[in-house]
Structures are given as C-alpha cells and as structure tokens.
Symmetry: C5
C-alpha cells in the first residue's frame, strides 16, 4: 500500500485479471454524461466492487451509503467488464499525471478495449430530441470496428480537453485500443438523455441488453441529485478553460 509520488494509488481488493478485459470510465465532465452512463451500467449489470483509486488531491471527504463507508473512485467488475466510477471530478492540475497513471495500470492488464464515455457541448441541445453520438479512437481500426454498429458517426475535427483527451493521447502513444463515445450534451447541466444515447450505443458495442427506460424515467430526480456534482464539475471544467483556454487553434492552412 505504498503511495506513489503523484498521490495516486490504485488498489485491487481482489486481483483484476483475465483475458480480453474491457475497461469503461465515466469521470464526470460535460453534462455528467460519462458519470451517469457508467453508474447506470454498474447498477443495471449488478457489477461488483473490486477495487478503488485513492487520489491524494481529492478533498478529505468520504461518502456513507446505507451505513457503509465508500471510496470516492471505485472500480467495479462483472465478467470481462471493468467500470471505473468517480463521485468527484479530478482536480484540473492532476489531469495529466492521473491519466498517465491510470493508463499504466490499464495497459498492464492488456485489455481488449478501453472505452471512455463523455459528452460534447452542444449549445443547441435544448432543441435536440435525440442527441447524436460520435466516436473517436486510438487507431483507425478501433473506429472502423465501432462503426460497424449503427447509431454513431466519426468525430472529425476539433479538440478534446481534460482527462478524456489525455487518456486518448496516451492510448495512441502506447498502442492501447481505446474508443471514446461522445454524445451531444448540455455543457453545464446533468444530461441523462444524452447519457441514454451513450448507453444505447455502448450496449451494441458490448453486445449486451440494456434498457435505458429507467434512466429516462428517473431523469428529473437524477438531475436534482446531481446538481452538486455538476457544480463541482463545472468548476473544474472552467478551471481547465480559464487557465488553458478551450478552443482549438489550427495553424494549418
């Protein structure tokens, strides 16, 4: 239980091993799309808590659920599926080192695929009934294989800021198969409708049966409960924006 210099410790409560593992992460960012989708997945599939990630830079808070102490970033497993769920957004200053650390761990598991779930800000979201789903991959093969399933189109030009961008960059550099699933979402409000689209496409990729109805039915209640996480997450996203600015600057002609 040595703590690494960067204050990130990944603890496996039971050994996370096996062939062809598929990792899914849903750290909270745009519209909390990834967080909502991953939590829904964990809940619906009845995944089992098998580890946690302790990040020194997170606030000194623990959550109590049903009388039990919970870690802030938890790792769940069911069969080949490993899901990482976080109750808090990562501090902006940690995004780079955390991403490297997480990729070290994931790479060491020789996964079949690493899937990141997230939203892309869509100013016109209010007028969109069914948010579009985009995909981005660490290689052309990953994208092509994903596109064999209907319901998504490739993400062409733009930028990815924050932890998802850094994870993708590391995947490219390391040759880890990574797929990012992005849905149009509110930038600053929890967006269960967007998460539902992500879950639908994900279920095709994973070839599992997942009914998103409960997610949509509890949307209002969910938005209320996620108000605080959204506020926190907005702070972090603004932090990245402010000190670093979000728009992509293409120098190309």
């Amino acid at each position: 239980m040595e703590r690494a210099l960067d204050g990130v410790e990944i603890v496996e409560l039971e050994p996370i091993e096996g062939e062809g593992l598929i990792f899914i992460e849903g750290f909270p960012d745009v519209g909390l799309v990834g967080a909502i989708a991953t939590s829904f997945l964990v809940d619906r599939l009845g995944m089992k808590e098998v580890g946690y990630i302790d990040v020194e830079a997170l606030p000194p808070i623990i959550s109590i659920r049903d009388g039990s102490v919970k870690e802030l970033i938890r790792i769940y497993r069911k069969d080949r599926l490993i899901a990482i769920v976080s109750d808090l957004p990562l501090p902006a200053a940690m995004v780079k080192s955390f991403s490297q650390r997480l990729m070290d761990w994931i790479q060491s598991k020789r996964p079949e695929l690493f899937i990141s779930l997230t939203g892309i800000p869509e100013p016109n979201r209010l007028n969109i009934d069914k948010p579009k789903v985009f995909i981005l991959g660490s290689s052309k093969e990953v994208v092509e294989r994903a596109l064999e399933h209907e319901g998504a189109e490739p993400f062409k030009d733009g930028f990815i800021a924050g932890v998802k961008g850094m994870l993708l960059r590391e995947s490219v550099r390391r040759g880890v198969n990574m797929l990012v699933i992005l849905a149009q979402a509110h930038f600053n409000y929890p967006d269960p409708g967007s998460a539902a689209e992500v879950v639908k496409f994900l279920s095709r990729i994973l070839d599992i049966d997942l009914d998103v109805k409960p997610l949509l039915e509890s949307a209002e209640e969910l938005k209320l409960r996620l108000r605080d996480l959204m506020r926190r997450t907005s702070h972090v996203m603004q932090g990245i924006q402010k000190s670093k600015e979000l728009e992509l600057p293409p120098v190309y002609l």
Copy 2:
C-alpha cells in the same frame, strides 16, 4: 525525536502499551462536540498526561496552565483508555497526512476500539431539546455491537468531511475497529448540550459512570471560554468547505 517529513511527531512520555486499549479522539469540529466531550472525560476520570503530538504546521503558540507549559495536542491515559485532546483544530491542508500518521500509530497499538467523538450540523438545533446520537463504524460488527447499547441509531447516508472522515476511511482500509459517535449540534457555536449526549452514550459503551450534570451546569461559561477555539475551528471548516465543497454528490441512480 526525529521529525517526520510531514511535520508530525507523536511522542510517548511513558510507553503507551497494553492489551485491549481503547482510543478516543475529540479534535475540534462541528459544535466543538468532540473537543468538549473528550476534555470532560479527561477531567472527570482524572486521566494522566502520557504523551503529546507535535504538528509542525500548527501556529507557534504554547499554552501556560497553572504556571506550566502545555503541548497543544496532548495524549492522556487511564487504565485501558487513551484520550487525545487538541487545543487547536488541524489546518485543513494537513487533514489527510495527519490522519494517516495518527492511524499508523493507533494501529501499531493493536487497539480494541478507536472512538471518534463529533457533531453533525443540525440547522434546527435551537428547537431540539435532546440532540439525537448517531453511530457509524468501520465494519458492520462495530456498529451492531454499539447498537446493543440504547440511545443511538445508525448513520445511514451522507458524508463525513475532515479528520474524522479520513480516520474512518483509514480504519476501514486497515481493518481497525473504529466507532464514530455523532450528535446533532450547532455548526458554528460551541454545543455543550450536544457533547453531553455524546458523553452519555460513550459512558454506556465504556461501561463507566459519568455524570454529565457539571458539563451542563458550566455550559454558559464554557461557551464563553470556547469562543476563540470555535472561531478558529470555523475557519478551518470553512476552508474545507470552500476549497472542497461539503455536499455529497451521489452519482447512483
């Protein structure tokens, strides 16, 4: 007398050893409930000063009592009971490393139980005659055993911020038996009435006879004398709140 890298040094003026030790801590936080209760315990039981904790990050102040120099964080003992009393709240930035350090030390003593006394903020406290007492434990067994005594109910859902939360998290991780006793309390005012309820329940747990009348009788004087500590403690608690925000964000559906 080597000083550790984190600036925390735990000094035993006489060896703190023995079977079945029970540790109690009352670092000042909500309503100063833990601080008042632990000090009362030390005073009433006539516990003996057997050590101190030196925290580099605390201000350069010493207290003089009855002509003698006192350490700011003192360790007292009577028989199997070890109490830790602090004249100052811990700086927010130290909460995590201090908790690890204290748990290292407590764990090395193979204690029977580690008890943390504290308050939970109750906005309606003014209209409550007899504050409720809640308990939280590092395991189901600890909670169940505590519930055999009347006067408390389990803490179900919510969050624990600050040093008590971090100590509890460490206890869970390390398998140390820890019990947190929480009473409804004023957030920002010293609350001897709340501390009295904690002491009553604690006396049942410890199977000792402790009359809380003197605590209640001196309540007004106590509030006056603790005004400064409360102000200091509020600063620290606001620091945790501000930079880290206090509400729990449940991502679960």
Copy 3:
C-alpha cells in the same frame, strides 16, 4: 519514454538522422509570423510527421484532425529539412529550460543550419505594403552567407525576447549555426503578409521554389482561424513583457 525533470520529452517516431540537416522552427509569437510560415512550408512541401515534443506544462488538450489524434508540437521532415510546428505558444516560465532542451537535441543532430522564423513588432505596419526582412545569426559567417541572397538586411541593435532569443543565445554559446529571419509584423494580429515575406526569403536560402500566392489569398480566412492562437500567444507575450519588461537597456556610452 522516460520523462525529463523539466517535463519536456522529444520523441522521434522514426530516427531523425542524416548529414547536413536543416532545422526550422516557428513557435508562435509576434504576428504568428513563424507559425504561419512554418505551417505553410510543411503543407506545401508535403512534409511527413516524424516525431513530436511533449511539454508537460502545456494544457491538457489534444487536437483531432480528420479523425486522428494530433500532438500539440509536431516534428516534420522532408529530405534534409526538419520543421517544428506548434499549435500553442510555450508558457513564459518554460522558455529558458525548453530552449536549452531543444538545443541539446538539435545540437546532437549536428545540423548544417537551424533557422528560426519570427516577426518584429512594427507599430507602423498598417502603412507598410511590403514588410522588411531582417536577419540575425549566431556568427558573422552565418549572417554573411545569408546576405548573399537578396531581400534581407542585417538586424543591428535591439533585443530579442522569448524563445527565439534564448535559442539564439544557446546557438552562440554552443557554436551551432543559427539564422533568425525576422519580418516587420503586427504585434497583436496574425500577419500572413509578413509571413509571406519570410517564406520568400527562406525559399532563397533553401533554394526551393515556393509560391506564396496561396498564403496571401487565404489571408483573411487564416486570420479568422488563427484568432484564438493569437489571443493565447498575446497572453504569453504580455506575460514576458509584464514580469520582465521588453525594452533593451543599453548601459553603453
């Protein structure tokens, strides 16, 4: 893939080797002259991406172009020509250590020449049709050889702040042949017209045929697309000015 202490990592995707290499850098500064000129060069010559520079201090952003993940600072090659293109300006605090690091790498390649492209602020730029081009070198020989080509005059007295200044200083100290090509430019607006003059002189130096017409034709569109990079770059340049002041103080009589 060890990361250096200063957080700068230069990665060669294929070995960058050979006799008589010529390096060109165009980090964004005054008028984005160097950035525009270098990108134009890469595009027109169809140079191939052969490496990248990872700077820890850059924001956690990746750019996606045509569905592929791109590094922020890329190294391109065609024959003996190596071009370094950056999508973001370097943080002011990194200028010194980055320059040392980059020179270590360039020096290790025993280049024939290292060319830096940049602008010099010209308040009267609006009234100037054809910006003047100046040159500056790490030695008299470099300057004299460059002056054999028409279209530039030597830069006599003044100062060079930022990454270009530091690279030139290192070149002098290390005895690396370095040529700085500077064109009169807007300080705070993207200046494709100035970049065109730099490209024209550069093409003579390199003895290659480069038509700058496309650069001038797309000037308006380019200015629009580069608005964000210019804003970012201005911040950095102001940072250097503010904390360090830009004017040269000649103590000489």
Copy 4:
C-alpha cells in the same frame, strides 16, 4: 561554514565554551522590551562580540557602525554571560525552525541557565508607573529559584506566541533550564520603562550591579531611534496574529 538546510548558521568567532554559561536572548517583540534590555546589558557590561547568527531569510541588509560592518544577529560574551542581540525581528515563518536550531546550539553548551527577556502586552500600560514583572520557567525548580529574588511573580495562565514561546517549549522538551522574564509593556511602542524593570530583576538574578538610570534618561531618544525596528517588529507580530490568531483557546472545563 556549511549552511544548514533551514538557512540558519551560527558562527563562533571564538569558541564559546566553559562551565555554567548563562545565555540571554532579547529578540525584538512586544514593546521591544527584550531587545532594549539585552542591548543595554551588552553596552553596560562592555561585552565582547564573539560570534553571529546568519539567517538566510533576513533581508539583504548590513549595518555599518563607526565605519565597521556588523552582522544582524550578534553574540556577545563577558565571563559566563552570553548575550544574543538582533537588529531585526525574525520572519514569522522561521520562528519554529529557528527556535529548534538555536536550542540545539544552546543545549550543546550545557548552560546553567537560558534567560529570555520580553514584554507582555498591557492595554492599560499608560496608567502604570512601574510595570509588573512576571516569570515563567521550563520547570518548577527554575521558577522557584527565580522567585527567591524579589520583584517578580509567577505567570499563571495564558499563552506565549512567537520565538519566546517556541524556545520555552523546546527547553521543557529537552530539559534545558530556561527562565522567561516578562514585563508589562506597550504592544506597539518601544517601552524602555518596561525594559528597565526587566533589567532590574535580571540584575538580581545575575547578582550584578546595573544602574538603569541611563536607560530611563535616554528613553525619549531611544524611542525615536527604535521607531523603525518597532514598525518592522509589529509587522511580524501581526503576521503571527493574523495567520495564526493570538488568543489561547482553553478547552478545559
């Protein structure tokens, strides 16, 4: 002449050795009482400069007296008496580490006694003709022995902040005999009258003959000359107060 990591270097220009040494320090704080009293002592007894303390964190200033360069913190000696005089208050952030360092050195000399001279703020000072003198010791024996001399009473309850508090704490921990002599004083004005009372009691302790008349006669001139040191010292004392708050918080019932 190795410089320690904390930037404090104690230099003995001639070896400070001997049996039964008595150390006296008068770092400037409340009313500059200790600084005035110690300087008066050095001057009257014609003590000889035998060393100095170099504190990296002090400002880059030297003082010139009678054409000679002087260190800011000087060590003087006459027979068994060693006096430490400082032209500047210690930066608040250094108080803890400096106190440890000074005690290491003093302890290594196996002194008979370490005497600290200081003031305690007395809001009503203007109406007090003859300030009271209090004493505080590292042990009951030290206090009792000092009380055999008339003119002082024991300091009972309160707090000691700053370098004097930290030195006393260290003395208790290390078992060094330390006596603190405190006189009622203005908090924010140089108080030669208070210093005179300290000197009078000190002369009894040391069994030496010291006429305080010159001190009182030059009081007005002294106040003027010490205006700057007082302002500097006030800043430091406020710094300790502000960031750390000065009042003692007794948790005891």
Copy 5:
C-alpha cells in the same frame, strides 16, 4: 558547462588568471552610479570581453549590439583590471545567493582588491554641485589605504542594502579586500554627475588617467538612454524596500 543549483553560472571565455587582479563591479542600483561608472571605464580603457555570468532568474532576453548577440552580464579585462558590467539589475530574491556565488569566484582569483561602485541616495541632490564621495571597506586597512588618496571620506553609520551590502558582508567574513566607493546620488534618476565623481576617485586609486569630460558631456543623452534600466532598477530597489524595508534599526543606546 554544468549549471549550478542556484541558476548562476560564471563562464570564462579565456582563463581569468594572474597576480594582483583588481575586480570592479557596477551592478545597477541607486542612480545607476555603479553601472554608468563601470561601463565608462570599460569603454575608455578599451577593456576586452573575457567572460559572462548567466543568471537563470534574469528575463529571457538577449541584447543585440552591432549585429552581435551579447550576454546580459559581461566580464571585461585589461591587464590586472577585471570589470563586471550588467545590462539588468539582479532580481531581489537572488541577491543573497548571487553574492555568495560571485564572492566564491572572486575569492578563488586571490584578488588584490575588489571594488564596488555605487550611489547613496541624497534627497538634496538637486542642490549639490559636486557630490561627496564616501568609502567603506572590508577592513580598517583597506579604508586607510584608500583615504591616502584625496577626495573621499569614510562612511560612518548607516546601512547598505542589496547586492553591494551582501558582497561587503561576504568580504568581511572571508577576509577578501573590498572597497566600496559611494557617491551622493539621485535615488530614482540616472546620475552621470555622481558617476563622474566615482570615476575620478577610482582613477586615483587605480593610478590611471581618466578624463570624465566625455561622461559629463553626454550626460543628457545618457539619461535618456538609461531611462528603461532605471525604471527596471527602481522596481528591484522598491522590491527590496517593500518586502524588507530599507532603514537601519540601531538597537544600541
């Protein structure tokens, strides 16, 4: 070309060796007196550039003179005379470590004398035709020998802040012969008239013939050219004043 931990590197382009070397420094401070006088000396004597000092903490600027890249702090030599000229004032935070570093180097050369040229602020400077010259030395012998030449009087009581003060302190500690020549000067304006008096006295010390007429004739032009360096220097001097306060606090009676 190893860089020291404090970011100061002294580079000798040709070995600076010999018996009886005399070093002169003129880092810019009060009235730029030292900077003007040293530059004048270098220019008039036709001294040769033989080295430079690289200070990491200086801004990322290089100066170009007559088409050549110049270091910011240059070392010149003619016969036994070594002059150090700086285009920029040293950052206040570096004054202490830089002084130590420079003295290490100078001491290693076993110089006959180290001369520092500077101004002392004289509020009434406008009404003074011929500024007085004062001297201060690392020992009585240095002062006495200097006073054998007419035109200066000893500096008796006061303070010396900044790099000159720190260099003098180090000289005393190390037993290096150092002479400080100070002339009454404007605090905040370049003062060539004051520099001329310094040069006149210096020429007697060095027994060389130096006509200060050119210095006085170009005074107006010089003031204009030095406006920027003065502004920069004022910032640094205010920084020392602000964070550290400039007045000397004599505790002595």
